[in-house]
Symmetry: C2
Subunit: 125 residues, 2 copies
DNA sequence: CTGCTAATGAGATATCATTCTCAGTAGCCC
DNA sequence: GGGCTACTGAGAATGATATCTCATTAGCAG
């Protein structure tokens, strides 16, 4: 049976508050604001459970551990900041992607990743 | 000093022949057709050297080891087949990506990854 | 051809992300 | 409140990629 624990709530809250995809380490750091003794294993276990429930979505970017964001948002893409390594959501999507494909290939999904500096890092330089 | 070795040539040839990004393991398998005793360490060392020379470009996709392709091709994107896990080049790019960005963000690069089945895998099902 | 030394190969080792273990803790039904 | 048992935390174990070590091999300049 599924229990509602302090940890589970803290982890969901951290993701909700962030509003962007977080890695397990980022989740751990954020949720420790509430629960300082929180363990990494619990983060992984809980994330797995939330994924199974359909409450989270996996966001995988090249060269970094998987990140997780709350499910249910509409289609969007991601911006990966080279300054702070943070990942942000981008609320748009160009059209006509299907036309890019060579013949015979069957398109199921697409991911667009933008690289650069986020507003904070851009201002700092 | 840089020497022209059998191994270096076999690795470059494998990438040239493939015409698509290869992981170190894929490079190893392909180049062993010519040099059966080729070692993985040599692949990594050689790839590093070719990258430093600017002869190769790194292609990083989520959830997979980095792959490498010959440098100098014009801008393109990649298709990741879910059937065979192979990566193929896609010779096009939608316009207007910069318009997707929120204010303050500085865009330096972008990557578009298409997921689905390649022609061979699509036909097999 | 000869010697110098860069490059190689095989296995050991490092590095991380993720999962496992297990004793102790705490949700929740009654 | 009590008891059953799922959940937790800390560290060990795992798995996969990438690098290092070192004795041996082989480019290439002279």
């Amino acid at each position: 049976m599924q229990r509602t624990t302090r940890q589970r709530e803290a982890i969901r809250a951290a993701l909700e508050l962030a509003g962007r995809p977080l890695s397990p380490q980022e989740i751990l750091a954020a949720a420790r604001a509430d629960l300082p003794q929180l363990g990494l294993a619990t983060v992984y276990r809980t994330v797995k459970g939330l994924l199974a429930d359909g409450a989270l979505r996996t966001v995988e970017l090249p060269g970094t551990p998987a990140r997780y964001e709350l499910a249910g948002k509409h289609h969007h893409h991601h911006f990966h900041c080279r300054g702070c390594d943070g990942v942000f959501e981008v609320e748009a999507c160009p059209t006509g992607i299907r036309g890019l494909l060579p013949g015979g290939f069957r398109l199921e999904e697409h991911e667009i990743i933008l690289y650069g500096l986020c507003a904070a890092c851009g201002a700092r330089r």
